[in-house]
């Protein structure tokens, strides 16, 4: 128990239901290739892993520091493009992976530092607008430099042999599952996501993380105590950007493809925002619960809505509202309601329920 406590940086789930949900999610993700056979299920699980890291890094910014940035997908994209460009230019191999990741991290570091120092001195709204504009410009840049980034088509590339789908690790299937490169990649993602998540948990529960929360609550006061809020905000911005970059690189490794739609599009930015708010701002566990629910909804809610749509086929307006294509409508409504009624999200709700618990 003590070891677990240290592993989670003394930030335990603090709710029986939440703990149970987290354990369930971790077990399900850890055994996903064995439990849920099929290419689609594995892709869904991998997407969850990537989104957990991405959303947690955004929560570092939004939930813990109180900064709204719309440029988070830009850093996500830098990671993915770094991987893709290095792998196509240098030829596949671990060297390309390392070089791509390192270059992407360096670019993200510089860019987030510049954006942060340039615009974090001013009000939250101003920062939100600036990042929106910068992200839009970056997206255009990525689609225009088509020699370099593949333009709208994106880049397909090959992974190192160990991670390529045709690689067979074992001659015999293990528990009825052929261990190929895809499964190995999945476990690479799983380990990386777990480590990154624990690292972020460590960061937000460190004294540094406490300062960030102090700035979120009252930056004037934090400044008065002697913390230079610009420095801390910029550091938080840089850290979030770096984690997002790694998440992007992981996604690129999984898809073996990088394009504007998978990483840079504004829809993904909105998805991240929805997940953070619905999952719970200011608690990293919200990123896990939120990402899992969201990716599940994205991939399977549509099937559910399809049932509803066929049932309501004849009804004119209602039928159009429950078509599977409109699933984002319901998520948007949920988002607006959750900002009003439970700003701490699902995780906050679960933790509050525990407070009412007589235990």
């Amino acid at each position: 128990m003590n070891a677990l406590n240290r592993l989670l940086s003394h930030d335990l789930p603090k709710s029986r239901w939440l703990a149970a949900a987290l354990v369930l999610i971790v077990i399900a993700l850890a055994l996903a290739p064995f439990l849920f056979p099929g290419a689609k299920a594995l892709s869904v699980a991998a997407k969850m892993l990537v989104f957990i890291v991405l959303v947690a890094s955004f929560d570092l910014l939004l939930g813990y520091t109180g900064i709204v940035s719309f440029a988070h997908t830009m850093f996500f994209g830098i990671g993915a493009y770094g991987m893709a460009i290095a792998s196509t230019r240098l030829g596949e191999g671990w060297f390309a992976v390392a070089a791509g990741l390192a270059a992407a991290l360096a670019v993200s570091l510089l860019l987030s530092l510049v954006i942060g120092l340039f615009s974090l001195r001013v009000k939250a709204i101003f920062y939100a607008m600036i990042t929106l504009a910068v992200a839009a410009a970056f997206q255009t840049l990525a689609s225009q430099l088509s020699d370099f980034t593949g333009g709208e088509d994106g880049l397909s590339f090959k992974n190192p042999t160990l991670l390529s789908p045709s690689f067979e690790a074992l001659a015999e299937p293990l528990f009825g599952l052929a261990i190929d490169g895809k499964v190995i990649t999945y476990y690479l993602l799983f380990v990386a996501a777990a480590l990154l998540f624990l690292l972020m948990l460590r960061i937000v529960n460190s004294p540094f993380g406490r300062v960030l929360q102090a700035i979120r609550e009252n930056d004037f006061r934090a400044e008065a105590i002697g913390f230079r809020s610009v420095v801390y905000r910029t550091l938080s911005n840089v850290l979030a950007a770096l984690f997002a970059t790694v998440a992007g690189a992981l996604l690129a490794l999984w898809l073996r493809y990088t394009g504007p739609d998978t990483t840079l599009s504004f829809e993904i930015m909105l998805d991240i925002l929805l997940i953070v708010v619905i999952g719970g701002m200011g608690t990293l566990y919200g990123a896990i619960v939120g990402s899992v629910l969201f990716v599940l909804a994205q991939n399977y809610l549509q099937d559910l809505l399809k049932l509803g749509a066929t049932a309501l086929e004849g009804v004119p307006l209602l039928g159009a509202v429950v078509t599977p294509d409109r699933w984002l409508l319901w998520l948007g409504v949920l988002f607006v309601l959750s900002v009003y009624h439970f700003p701490t999200g699902i995780v906050g709700r679960l933790r509050a329920a525990r407070g009412a618990d007589p235990r």
Partner: protein, 338 residues
């Protein structure tokens, strides 16, 4: 005369009127002349730039007023643009008799009806949006950004429910297609219409803000909200009114923008959002005159660079924003109370 009321509208209690941003605008237009080369091309580009700038101004003016008055930045402003454009497709589609007619008058009539309908619908939705979405989160910036963004997601999806997710063509009426020819300079007819409508809106705004009691209250509210309240005026009602007008203007701008692009997609709001944010940042958040000058700069620069270096044109807005902010970090016409 115009300049005096413009100075009043910009809500700065400065002694003299600040000419430098306007001089910069003129310098931008004249400086492009030698680069473009032929004067006729330059005229074409300038008119196109002014038309685009004025449309952007119509869209952005409501946003900047709302921000100036109530310190609310509506990230969902784009929804009203989209609503306006889509209402226009329905109205003008239903008035095919008038739009297909070769005469000018029924054509203008159709556009006028479409504009009225778009403004009414966008204004009504703006009223509901302010009451339901924005009102509970006054004074909480973080929540405002999130909630208005959520409002935009929902609004876009509802538009898809009603009009479908696909692109809808919005053709210009018969007699507004094509261009006038002055010597070698070709000026598209529709752009002239856009310039006229844009200038009318600007003049009307200046008149309302500078010459009427409501405008006085709005300007006073931008300067010092508490003082207006303590003098016995219901600032909330005033704000609802400004929000509705701002939304209606966005609807009007949506019609103009849709006709300018000749097609509309549900994502139009999110696309234009970036542009109008750049404009109001350039102008100085909350300043009407700044918004006007900023919009014209963006429009002109986009057209000049689109002609001179199409690849650069995509980044001209961002470049302009950075340059302006380096010169004046608070925007062209800073609002002093913020």
């Amino acid at each position: 005369m115009n300049a005096v009321s413009a100075a009043a509208a910009s809500a700065i209690p400065e002694a003299g009127f600040d000419w430098r941003p306007i001089a910069l605008l003129a310098a931008l237009a004249l400086g492009a002349l030698p680069l473009v080369g032929s004067p006729s091309t330059w005229v074409t580009l300038t008119v196109a730039g002014l038309a685009m700038g004025l449309i952007v101004f119509i869209i952005a003016s409501g946003l900047t007023l709302v921000f100036g008055l109530m310190d609310v930045l509506n990230f969902g402003h784009g929804v009203f643009i989209a609503v306006g454009a889509f209402v226009a497709t329905s109205v003008m589609g239903g008035m095919a008799g008038w739009t297909m007619s070769p005469q000018l008058l029924p054509n203008l009539g159709a556009i006028f009806v479409a504009m009225l309908a778009a403004m009414t619908v966008a204004g009504a939705i703006g009223f509901a949006f302010e009451r339901v979405i924005v009102r509970p989160v006054y004074g909480q910036h973080l929540k405002q950004i999130l909630i208005t963004m959520g409002g935009m997601i929902v609004g876009e999806e509802i538009i898809k429910v009603i009009w479908g997710p696909q692109q809808i063509p919005l053709p210009l009426p018969e007699s507004l297609r094509g261009a006038f020819l002055f010597g070698d300079a070709a000026i598209e007819k529709y752009r002239v219409l856009a310039v006229v409508v844009g200038l009318l809106v600007f003049a009307a705004m200046l008149w309302v803000l500078g010459r009427t009691k409501v405008g006085l209250l709005v300007r006073a509210g931008v300067q010092d909200r508490e003082m207006v309240e303590s003098l016995g005026y219901r600032i909330e009602r005033l704000f609802t009114g400004v929000f509705v007008v701002g939304s209606a203007l966005a609807g009007l701008g949506g019609v103009l923008w849709g006709l300018y692009q000749q097609s509309v997609v549900p994502q139009i709001g999110a696309q234009v959002n970036v542009l109008i944010f750049i404009v109001i940042i350039i102008g100085g958040l909350g300043s009407t005159l700044g918004c006007f000058v900023g919009a014209l700069m963006v429009g002109l620069l986009a057209n000049y660079t689109g002609f001179l270096a199409p690849k650069v044109a995509l980044f001209s807005n961002i470049g302009l924003m950075v340059a302006v902010l380096l010169w004046r970090p608070q925007g062209l016409y800073p609002v002093t109370s913020r």
